[in-house]
């Protein structure tokens, strides 16, 4: 990253559980980290810790050595977790005294780093009453990471958000450059798009809404188009893609939200469930995530 330039902050969010937020965040981070000289930082902000636990299972050392587990244990013991950072940030009458280093940020690989979640985040809402006191937390934390000389200069920071509007989601959304909303080709998973698009704006006002990219995840397909070579969604998947696309274009038109429904989609594959624990994006899905990233990048640069 050129010096002085802030990393792009990308949050994956959907209030519906099970749409693939965690897997998408991991696969996007993994895809980005495969590009030469790109450094990616990934945050697990969900108290369910799915991403954190998957990272623990991910280490493909061929041995039982638990590098991440040991690191994580020390981080928790020494109060070097994201929850401790929040405590330091919201402590009344004090400056944000929480130095960051690789005791807070775990190095999965040279290009992909990770800030894990902790179960304490479940109780965050009870302990922090004032949402405005949390608003700048992520912005300030990223500022610290960016400006700490010995830390990596990240190009992208990805956030796996919980399936609800928490204080941490609020903090992320007030500073994110792009919000990715994965939806699935079924009624219940598509239903939340309208809710997010139309209520998010008023919830984070007066902050401007970040750019929002909505895309279909777990798309059912049936072969490739003979002329374009692209995968063809089934009629049912295509129905939900059109409907969600329609919701996005209406939100864009009537609510003045900078939202786009992406043409690219992620296909439904059983193997993707093992993407995090198995070490990476399944080979046949790499083009899907690259296409999704290409569209996201173009949207970000506009």
């Amino acid at each position: 990253m050129p010096s002085g330039q802030s990393p792009k902050l990308i949050a994956t969010i959907n209030f519906k559980g099970g749409v693939g937020k965690t897997t998408v965040t991991w696969c996007m981070a993994d895809t980005l980290a495969l590009f030469p000289n790109q450094r990616v930082l990934m945050f697990d902000l969900d108290a369910q810790m799915s991403l954190t636990q998957a990272i623990a299972l991910n280490e493909d050392s061929g041995r039982l050595e638990d590098r991440f587990g040991k690191w994580y244990e020390i981080a928790v013991q020494r109060k070097r977790t994201i929850f401790d950072a929040i405590e330091a940030f919201t402590r009344p009458g004090s400056t944000f005294n929480f130095p960051v280093g690789f005791d807070v940020v775990y190095q999965i690989s040279d290009q992909l780093h990770f800030v894990p979640s902790v179960e304490d985040l479940y109780w965050l809402e009870l302990e922090v009453f004032d949402r405005d006191s949390m608003r700048d937390f992520i912005r300030r934390l990223i500022g610290k990471i960016t400006n700490t000389p010995k830390m990596s200069k990240y190009h992208y920071v990805l956030f796996d958000c919980p399936p609800s509007f928490t204080l941490l989601s609020y903090s992320v959304l007030t500073c994110a450059d792009l919000v990715l909303i994965p939806v699935n080709p079924d009624f219940f998973a598509s239903r939340g798009t309208s809710l997010i698009l139309n209520s998010l704006k008023m919830r984070i006002e007066p902050h401007p809404l970040p750019k929002i990219g909505v895309f279909m995840n777990k798309t059912k397909t049936f072969g490739r188009d003979a002329s374009t070579g692209k995968w063809r969604p089934t009629n049912e998947s295509a129905f939900y893609m059109r409907e969600v696309g329609r919701v996005c274009s209406e939100a864009s038109k009537h609510e003045n939200i900078d939202v786009r429904f992406f043409d690219s989609f992620i296909r439904e594959r059983v193997g993707i469930k093992r993407a995090i624990t198995g070490g990476g994006v399944p080979a046949d899905l790499v083009p899907d995530f690259r296409a999704l990233w290409q569209e996201s990048k173009e949207f970000l640069s506009q």
Binding site: S6, I74, A75, R78, K79, R80, D84, E87, A88, R91, T95, F96, N97, F98, P99, V100, G101, F102, D103, V104, R131, D132, R135, D136, R139, R140, I142, G143, K144, T146, N147, T148, K150, T174, C175, F187, S190, R191, T193, S194, L195, N198, S199, M202, R203, E205, P206, H207, T234, N235, E236, S237, A238, F239, R242, E243, V244, R246, V247, E250
Partner: protein, 184 residues
């Protein structure tokens, strides 16, 4: 209960069930014989069976190709959604009723709803109406005004604010011995 007000015994119930089975068998046999007689009569005197005439029955969709293209079907669907959303339910129903079975089947297929082995007008209409309801509900939401807050725009700290405090950002990257203690 019998004439004496007693509950039937297990033997009584078993005898009744056997009688019911026997009667059903007789009726099935009679029905089969009647069906065969009707079939022969219908063959020789088709006009003598007003209720059983094939006239007015829906043509088989496999023999009648649709008169619209898949794209036209989807355009028609968008129009139906628009009409339904503006409260023109009766007009929507009239449009669907006026469609041929083959066109209706094509539209339902394009919407990804199941057609079933033997698509009927009732079944297809039900599938189409289900999709219409989904389309309406997917774009419907109930918003409540957000909580009142006094945050002003532009009040947020810039991303690099903490750069101004190098002491605060410095950290021991090799270990956490110097990490701050949690305040009680």
């Amino acid at each position: 209960m019998n004439e004496r007000g007693e509950l039937p015994t297990q033997e009584d119930v078993a005898a009744l069930a056997a009688e019911v089975r026997e009667l059903k068998e007789v009726l099935r046999e009679v029905s089969g014989k009647l069906g065969r007689i009707e079939k022969r009569l219908r063959f020789f005197f088709p006009d003598s069976f007003p209720g059983g005439s094939r006239k007015g029955k829906e043509p088989d969709i496999r023999e009648n190709p649709p008169s619209i293209t898949p794209q036209q079907a989807l355009d028609l669907y968008s129009e139906l959604v628009r009409m339904a959303r503006s409260g023109q339910e009766q007009e929507v129903e009239a449009r669907v009723t006026a469609m041929s079975l083959a066109d209706l089947a094509l539209l339902v297929k394009e919407l990804g709803a199941p057609l079933g082995k033997k698509p009927s007008r009732t079944g297809l209409t039900k599938s189409l109406m289900g999709r219409l309801k989904e389309s309406i509900m997917l774009s419907r939401h109930t918003s409540r005004p957000g909580p009142d807050h006094s945050v002003r725009q532009g009040e947020s700290a810039p991303l690099g604010e903490d750069a101004a405090n190098p002491e605060e950002t410095a950290t021991d990257l090799t270990g956490a011995d110097k990490s701050p203690q949690r305040s009680s």
